[in-house]
C-alpha cells in the first residue's frame, strides 16, 4: 500500500485529540517531525494497519474534541493508522453523528420520531430552531431511545472532555438550556423512573434496577451479583451451553434465534480466537430496554458477557454501544473498569484461570450498525454495511473469526438461567417462548416505560398495566420494522408464536400506543423517512426503494380511496421487491409497518 496524504495539517488540538487515544507518533511516517532516522527506514505499515479498528474511536476522538472532522484531522488519523484517506472519508461520512463540514461545537439532537411526534415534537423543534443561537446546531433526529420521556432532546458539546445533557420530557427552554449550559442543566431522571414496576416482587431481569447503586460492584454482589458466574465455572463451558440450550432462550434482538445453538456452533469451531460481541446499538424506534438495563444494572451485563465468553471460549468481548447513549456509556465504562480492578475481568477472572476482558465501542449514529454483520464492519473500521451471508457470524464474524453476537437483554437472561436452573427458567412463559420478556411501552399511556412480564401475557394486559388512554387508534408492535395492530386485537398473546400467528411480530419488544391526535399518514411518512435515512445504500431495492416509498406516501398523505389507489398499488409492488430482494433485514422490513397500516388499519381507504 502506497498511501497518498494531502497537504492539510491538523491543528494542535486535533493532533492532541488523536494522540490522547493513540499515544504520540513514533516517527515522521506517522506524522511526527522528521528525524534523520526516518530517512533510513520506514515504520508504520503492517503493525499500524492492524489497528484499523481504532479508526472509529479516532473519529470519535476528533469529533468529541472539535465538533467536526477537518481534512487535516482526518489526514493525521489516516497517517497514524495507515488507512487510505478515501476509505476514512467513506467511513466518516457514513455516520450521522460525524460532520466533515465545520459546525458549531454544540449539537442539539431533537427527536422527531413516533413517540415524540405524538408528544408534540413538531412544536418543540420549531421553537428550538427559532431560539437556538449561532453556537448551537439543531439536528432532527430519529428515536433517541428516551421514548418513555417523550419528547426528547440530547445536547452534545464538543470539548475536553465532551459534555452531554438530556432534556426529556423537553420544553423549548429545557432543551435550549441543555444545549447552552450542559453542565448546569438539571440531572436527567434516574433509570428506575423508566421502570414503573421497579422494586416490585417477582421481577427477574429488572429486579436490581432502582434497587442497587449502579456504580457499586459491592452493592451488585450484595444483591446476588456474580453467583451466576460461579455456577458457570462449576458447570464448565459445555455445561453452560447445555443449560442455555435447555432453557429455550432465544435472542431478544429481533431475530429470535436460539441462543444455545448459536453458542454451540461458535464453541465448536476450530478457528481461533473466538469473539463475543454484545449488541447494544439499540436504535429500533421505540426501543429503550437495553439502555435501562445498562444504566440501572450495568454489572449484570459485565457478568453475563463473562459467562458467554467462558462458554464459547472467547477471551475478548466487544460491547458495541449506541452513540446517543451517553449515560449508559459512562455507567458501562465505570462498571468494566471496576470489574477489571477487582479481578472480575482480566487475565485470571476470579482466580479460575480464565482470561477475559471487554472493550467498549461507541456507535456513531447509524441504525444499520445494529445488524449483526454491519456491526462487525463498524468495529473493524469499515463502513457499517451488512455483509452477505453465508458465511454466518458463527463461522466468520468479527475479524473473520467465529463470533457470537447477542443482544443485551438476551445476555442478561443467562444470569437467571444459571441461578435458577434451566428447567425452572423454561417453566416461565409458554412452551415455545420461555422466560421473562421486557417490553418498551410508550405513546398514549399514563405510565410509559420498560415492563417485565412472562411471555404469554396479552397485549391488552400489558397496556392495562401501563394505563392505556382513551381513544386508542392503533398499536405498533416491534418498532418501525414491526407492524400495527388494531384496538380490537388486544387479545394477541405476547409470544413469538402468538404474534406470528396473528400475522405480526414481537420484534425487539416495542409496544407503542397511538390515539387519534396524530394522523396515521403522518406516522407512516415518518417511518418511511426513517428507512430512507438509515438505508446503508448498498443494495438497489432498499437504497432506491425506500426513496420511492417515501415519495409515494408523500403524494397520498391527504388522499384516500380511488385517489390513493394507484400509489397504494405502487407501494405494494416496491414493498414486495424490497422484502424479497434486499440484502439485509433493514430493506426486507422497510415496508412492514406501512403494509400493516394499509391492510389492518385501513389507512388511505
Amino acid at each position: 500500500m502506497d498511501l497518498h496524504f494531502g497537504d492539510s495539517k491538523p491543528t494542535d488540538e486535533e493532533r492532541a485529540a488523536v494522540d490522547a487515544l493513540l499515544g504520540p507518533p513514533e516517527s515522521s511516517w506517522e506524522g511526527a517531525d522528521r528525524t534523520d532516522a526516518d530517512l533510513r527506514w520506514a515504520r508504520g505499515g503492517r503493525a499500524a494497519r492492524d489497528r484499523r479498528d481504532l479508526l472509529l474511536p479516532g473519529l470519535h476522538a476528533v469529533n468529541d474534541r472539535i465538533g467536526w472532522i477537518s481534512e487535516g484531522a482526518l489526514g493525521y488519523l489516516c497517517r497514524r493508522l495507515t488507512v487510505p484517506p478515501a476509505e476514512a472519508y467513506g467511513v466518516a461520512t457514513f455516520y450521522a453523528m460525524f460532520s466533515v463540514e465545520p459546525r458549531p461545537a454544540t449539537v442539539l439532537h431533537v427527536c422527531t420520531d413516533l413517540a415524540c411526534t405524538a408528544a408534540g415534537a413538531a412544536g418543540l423543534c420549531a421553537g428550538v430552531e427559532k431560539g437556538a443561537g449561532p453556537g448551537v446546531h439543531v439536528e432532527r433526529s430519529p428515536c433517541l431511545g428516551l421514548c418513555e420521556r417523550a419528547p426528547a432532546a440530547l445536547a452534545i458539546r464538543a470539548g475536553d472532555p465532551v459534555r452531554t445533557a438530556v432534556a426529556a420530557p423537553a420544553t423549548v427552554t429545557a432543551a435550549l438550556l441543555a444545549a447552552t449550559a450542559p453542565d448546569s442543566a438539571p440531572e436527567e431522571d434516574p433509570p428506575a423512573l423508566a421502570v414503573p414496576q421497579a422494586g416490585q416482587e417477582g421481577l427477574t431481569l429488572l429486579r436490581r434496577v432502582g434497587v442497587v447503586d449502579p456504580a457499586s460492584l459491592d452493592d451488585y454482589r450484595a444483591n446476588g451479583g456474580y453467583t451466576a458466574l460461579r455456577h458457570a465455572f462449576a458447570l464448565g463451558p459445555a455445561g453452560v451451553i447445555r443449560e442455555v440450550t435447555d432453557s429455550g432462550l432465544v435472542g431478544r434482538g429481533g431475530a429470535a434465534f436460539p441462543t444455545g445453538r448459536k453458542w454451540q456452533a461458535t464453541a465448536s469451531r476450530p478457528e481461533q480466537p473466538h469473539h463475543l460481541v454484545c449488541n447494544a446499538d439499540e436504535s429500533e424506534p421505540g426501543t429503550f430496554k437495553d439502555r435501562v438495563l445498562m444504566e440501572g444494572d450495568p454489572y449484570s451485563l459485565v457478568e453475563a458477557m463473562t459467562i458467554a465468553a467462558y462458554a464459547i471460549g472467547a477471551h475478548r468481548g466487544h460491547l458495541y454501544l449506541r452513540g446517543e447513549y451517553p449515560r449508559a456509556l459512562a455507567r458501562m465504562e465505570h462498571a468494566v473498569a471496576q470489574a477489571r480492578a477487582r479481578g472480575f475481568l482480566g487475565a485470571d477472572v476470579l482466580g479460575q484461570g480464565f482470561a477475559f476482558d471487554i472493550e467498549i465501542r461507541r456507535g456513531a449514529g447509524a441504525y444499520i450498525c445494529g445488524e449483526e454483520t454491519a456491526l462487525f464492519n463498524s468495529i473493524e473500521g469499515y463502513r457499517g454495511e451488512p455483509r452477505s451471508k453465508p458465511p454466518f457470524p458463527v463461522e466468520q464474524g468479527l475479524f473473520g473469526r467465529p463470533t457470537v453476537e447477542n443482544n443485551v437483554e438476551t445476555l442478561v437472561n443467562v444470569l437467571p438461567i444459571l441461578t435458577m436452573g434451566a428447567p425452572a427458567y423454561a417453566a416461565i412463559g409458554t412452551e415455545r417462548s420461555t422466560g421473562p420478556k421486557l417490553f418498551c411501552v410508550s405513546g398514549s399511556v399514563d405510565r410509559p416505560g420498560v415492563y417485565e412480564l412472562p411471555f404469554g401475557a396479552t397485549l391488552g394486559e400489558l397496556l392495562q398495566l401501563a394505563g392505556v388512554r382513551e381513544n386508542l387508534r392503533a398499536v405498533l408492535l416491534g418498532g418501525a420494522a414491526g407492524g400495527f395492530v388494531r384496538p380490537d386485537e388486544l387479545g394477541i398473546p405476547l409470544t413469538f408464536e402468538g404474534t406470528r400467528e396473528a400475522g405480526t411480530t414481537l420484534g425487539s419488544g416495542v409496544v407503542m400506543a397511538f390515539d387519534d391526535s396524530v394522523p396515521l399518514p403522518e406516522l407512516l411518512l415518518r417511518i418511511a423517512r426513517f428507512f430512507r435515512d438509515e438505508s446503508c445504500g448498498q443494495c438497489v431495492p432498499c437504497r432506491v426503494g425506500t426513496v420511492r416509498q417515501e415519495e409515494a406516501l408523500h403524494r397520498i398523505v391527504a388522499r384516500t380511496g380511488a385517489d390513493a389507489a394507484g400509489d397504494v398499488a405502487l407501494l405494494r409492488e416496491v414493498g414486495r421487491a424490497m422484502r424479497d430482494a434486499s440484502i439485509c433485514g433493514l430493506g426486507q422490513t422497510a415496508w412492514n409497518a406501512v403494509e400493516s397500516a394499509i391492510d389492518r388499519l385501513g389507512a388511505y381507504r
Binding site: 476509505e87 466533515v100 426513496v547
Partner: protein, 286 residues
C-alpha cells in the same frame, strides 16, 4: 514458456434449475450454472475479474426453502438445491430493481440494459416526474478519464478494482449513506488531488459508462463514437518488461482506446497508465 495452471480437479455437484438437472464443479455459483445451462440472468454488479459484491440484486433467483430471493452471482450452488431462475416472483423483483435504477440514474450507456427493461416490461416513468434522481454533472478534472456519477449505479466495482482486489491504490471509496451515497476520493476532491495513478482499471470494470476514457467521452459528446466501425488489434505493450497484452480499439484508422483481455493470466484486464492511456505516439505520423 506459459504455464496454464490447471488446479486440483473439482468434484461435480448436482442440483436442479427450473426442473432440469445441473452438474457444476464444487464452488460454482448459481450464476455459473445458469450460464452453463444457457439461461440469461441479468447482471450489473457482477464482474468476471472481481469477487461478487452482490449489490445490485438484478440477478436474484428463487431457491426452495429460502425466505427471500438469493443473488445468483454470489450464492454458491449446493447439492440438491432447487433453483427457479424465472417465474413471477423472480421477474417481479428484477423488474422493480430495473425500474428503480432506470428512474434514478442515466442508463443510456449501460450495455444490454435496454433489452432487459423491455424483457421485464419495466416502466421507470411510473414513479412520476418528481422522482428523485442522481443528476450529477460529469466531472472532467484530468486529461485521461471522466467521472459521470449521474450514470453510477453504485456497483462498487471501481472501488474493488482500485483497492485490494487489483490496483491497491485505494484512491476511491463509497462516501455518504443511502440514496446520498456516491463514489468519491477523500473530501470529494478532484481526482488530481487524490491517490489516483490513472491506471484506468476502474474504468475497465465500470458497467455503466459512468467512468469513461476522456477520448471516448469527447467522441460521444461530438457524436463520432461508433463501436460498429471499430476494430480490435491485439499486441504487446512496448513500455516495460512485463509485456502486458493490449487490445487496441481502432476507429477510422485511429486508436480510440486500449484494453486488455480479462482472461489474460498476467493482466486480468488491468493495465497501468502507460499501457492504457499512452498510445498517442503510435499515431505520431510526423
Amino acid at each position: 514458456m506459459t504455464v496454464t495452471p490447471l488446479g486440483i480437479p473439482r468434484r461435480l455437484l448436482e442440483f436442479t434449475i427450473d426442473g432440469e438437472v445441473a452438474r457444476v464443479p464444487e464452488g460454482s455459483t448459481i450464476l455459473d450454472a445458469c450460464r452453463a445451462a444457457g439461461k440469461d440472468v441479468p447482471t450489473l454488479c457482477e464482474g468476471d475479474t472481481l469477487r461478487p459484491k452482490n449489490a445490485c440484486r438484478v440477478c436474484v433467483v428463487e431457491v426452495e426453502g429460502a425466505r427471500t430471493l438469493v443473488p445468483a452471482c454470489s450464492r454458491k450452488a449446493e447439492p440438491g438445491m432447487v433453483v427457479r431462475s424465472g417465474g413471477e416472483r423472480v421477474r417481479h423483483s428484477r423488474r422493480i430493481v430495473l425500474e428503480l435504477l432506470a428512474s434514478s440514474v442515466d442508463l443510456s450507456t449501460t450495455p444490454r440494459v435496454a433489452g432487459w427493461l423491455k424483457e421485464y416490461e419495466a416502466k421507470p416513468d411510473r414513479f412520476g416526474p418528481a422522482a428523485a434522481r442522481l443528476d450529477e454533472e460529469p466531472r472532467v478534472d484530468n486529461d485521461l478519464y471522466v467521472r459521470d456519477y449521474g450514470k453510477c449505479i453504485l456497483c462498487y466495482k471501481c472501488v474493488d478494482a482500485c483497492g485490494d482486489q487489483w490496483q491497491n491504490s485505494f484512491a476511491i471509496s463509497v462516501a455518504g449513506r443511502g440514496f446520498g451515497a456516491r463514489i468519491a476520493v477523500e473530501h470529494d476532491a478532484p481526482l488530481t488531488d487524490s491517490a489516483c495513478v490513472y491506471c484506468g482499471n476502474c474504468v475497465e470494470v465500470c458497467p455503466t459508462g459512468a467512468l469513461s476514457p476522456k477520448r471516448e467521452f469527447d467522441m460521444r459528446a461530438a457524436g463520432t463514437w461508433d463501436e460498429s466501425r471499430q476494430t480490435e488489434t491485439t499486441t504487446v505493450c512496448a513500455y516495460c518488461g512485463v509485456g502486458c497484452t493490449l487490445t487496441l480499439h481502432v476507429q477510422d484508422n485511429e486508436i480510440v482506446g486500449v484494453t486488455s483481455p480479462h482472461d489474460n493470466p498476467v493482466t486480468h484486464g488491468n493495465l497501468c497508465i502507460k499501457g492504457r492511456f499512452g498510445y498517442q505516439h503510435v499515431q505520431n505520423r510526423g
